[in-house]
């Protein structure tokens, strides 16, 4: 069955060594199919964020190849790289919204990759895209905040705005790097539920880093364990036994 579907993310012997010599990723092989909800777990400093940023090439890898929907992002240049990136939405621990701008403006920036530069200099978004942004806000139930300044929202609301921004990209993949680390338990559930709905109803592949194993087991279809830059576990949630989890979390926590 899996043979007939083209993988949406592939890692082919990927290693990442930071300029200061720290090994971020060690020989990672990985195949993620469309529609999966993958949660990456591991100690702080294990290399979870490094893995995320290798997927959309926010930083370059040292060895190997990363393919998105069959196309190598590692070898992509200029416009081609930008066009692959716009297929991949990203959500951050600190939301990364422009505080002084309205919610609508923030959400619209998810669309920037679809326009020529000169139109963007003047901020000329089409009515269609404004509608798209508004609908994305509907998905996270924040349509009443469309003209509110981003910094006037609560943390949970800001994170949902950033989900709407990612949705406005009409992405195939959404990456979430510790999306709930700055949130309280109630808003955490809200954000995770939104991500699950997006995954199940829109078929968008989700790859998320989470600190909490319980949440990973609750939301993921598949769990990947990273320890010191190496993939030490990869399997469906059912196989993530207590021993397997203990194995992922063995060793020293590192300063990040």
């Amino acid at each position: 069955m899996a043979e007939t579907v083209k993988p949406v993310i592939e890692f082919d012997h990927v290693s990442k060594i930071y300029p200061n010599g720290v090994v971020g990723l060690k020989d990672i092989n990985l195949t993620i199919q469309p529609g999966e909800f993958v949660v990456v777990v591991g100690l702080s400093g294990a290399g979870k964020s490094t893995l995320m940023r290798a997927i959309n090439r926010l930083h370059d890898i040292s060895e190997g190849d990363v393919r998105i929907d069959g196309t190598s992002i590692t070898k992509a240049k200029g416009k081609q790289l930008l066009h692959i990136r716009r297929q991949i939405g990203m959500i951050f621990q600190n939301f990364n919204l422009v505080n002084r701008a309205t919610v609508l403006k923030n959400v619209l920036t998810g669309r920037v990759g679809y326009y020529p530069t000169w139109k963007m200099i003047f901020g000329l978004f089409s009515a269609e895209d404004k509608q798209r942004a508004y609908e994305a806000l509907g998905t996270v139930d924040l349509q009443d905040k469309v003209y509110t300044r981003a910094d006037q929202l609560s943390g949970g609301q800001q994170q949902r705005v950033s989900i709407a921004r990612a949705l406005t990209q009409t992405p195939q993949i959404i990456l979430a790097d510790e999306p709930i680390a700055s949130l309280d338990p109630q808003t955490t559930k809200r954000v995770m539920d939104d991500l699950r709905r997006i995954n199940q109803e829109m078929g968008i592949t989700v790859v998320a880093n989470l600190h909490s194993v319980e949440l990973a087991q609750e939301y993921a279809t598949r769990i990947i364990g990273i320890r010191a830059g190496e993939k030490v576990f990869d399997g469906p949630v059912a196989e993530a036994t207590d021993e397997a989890i203990a194995e992922i979390y063995s060793g020293e926590e590192q300063e990040v």
Binding site: L58, R86, M90, N96, T109, T117, I121
Partner: protein
């Protein structure tokens, strides 16, 4: 860990004291080698009171003739401020470490900016009067360069304090460099920029009143003429007009800047 029993004494800050002593000695020494005497300053105080009395008899009838040159001074300041700021904006991006990661590029262009900043406005005016001739064009050039140096530094310092998060988000969404600047940098700094431009305008109005003195157009020329003809009554009037205009502009601009930040 055991709780400390009493507040430990702060270490004597040798560096701070040494630096202060060094500066005081330096000040006295520089006064000595330049042969500055406080006494000399007061020697001509009598002459000053005479002139001041003459200036106090303001020649109000001359008011009408100060309107046009004052407007020219304002025009010079506005155009000079706008040109200088427009040039400073892209330049500031070029010398911001969080926008341009190439250290050599940043280093070289910062060095150039620092050199520009060391040139006093009066010297710029003298230079441009020599190059483009007497008149307001020389004043505009001088103010544009002066503004460029001043706000260029303020601009890049503001750019370097912005939150890098939105830049990363835009990059992840497939935005190019210009789009990142447009949607992640500009919204974070726009208010600061406008405020700095207004601030530069305040300074430029003051500076441009004097620039005319070097032949760079505006009310300064009239001031120079009145002084050279010993018409202190007119000097008094011109000084009052400048004073009033500067006061009004500082007030409006100050209020606007308060509202912005």
């Amino acid at each position: 860990m055991t709780a400390p029993s009493s507040l430990p004494k702060r270490k004597l800050q040798w560096r701070k004291w040494a630096l202060s002593a060094f500066m005081v000695v330096g000040l006295i020494w520089s006064a000595w080698i330049t042969q500055a005497h406080m006494g000399m300053f007061f020697q001509n105080i009598g002459q000053f009171t005479v002139i001041f009395q003459e200036m106090a008899h303001v020649d109000w009838s001359y008011t009408y003739y100060t309107v046009d040159p004052m407007i020219q001074t304002l025009k010079m300041s506005i155009i000079g401020t706008l040109i200088g700021s427009a040039l400073a904006f892209p330049y500031a991006l070029l010398v911001s470490r969080n926008i341009v990661t190439n250290k050599v590029v940043v280093g070289i262009f910062r060095f150039i900016l620092n050199i520009v900043r060391t040139i006093p406005d009066l010297m710029l005016a003298a230079l441009f009067v020599a190059v483009v001739g007497i008149g307001p064009i020389a004043g505009i050039f001088a103010l544009a360069i002066f503004t460029f140096g001043m706000v260029g530094k303020l601009f890049y310092e503001a750019i370097e304090t912005i939150d890098p998060g939105p830049l990363e988000a835009l990059r992840a969404a497939g935005a190019g460099r210009i789009e990142i600047i447009r949607f992640a940098v500009v919204p974070q700094i726009a208010n600061y920029f406008i405020s700095y431009v207004l601030y530069a305008f305040e300074i430029n109005v003051r500076a441009s009143t004097v620039l005319g003195y070097m032949g760079a157009g505006g009310i300064g020329i009239y001031l120079q003429q009145a002084l050279s003809m010993f018409r202190y009554d007119r000097v008094g009037l011109i000084v009052l007009v400048i004073f009033a205009v500067v006061l009004v502009i500082d007030y409006i601009s100050g209020k606007a800047r308060e509202a912005l930040l």
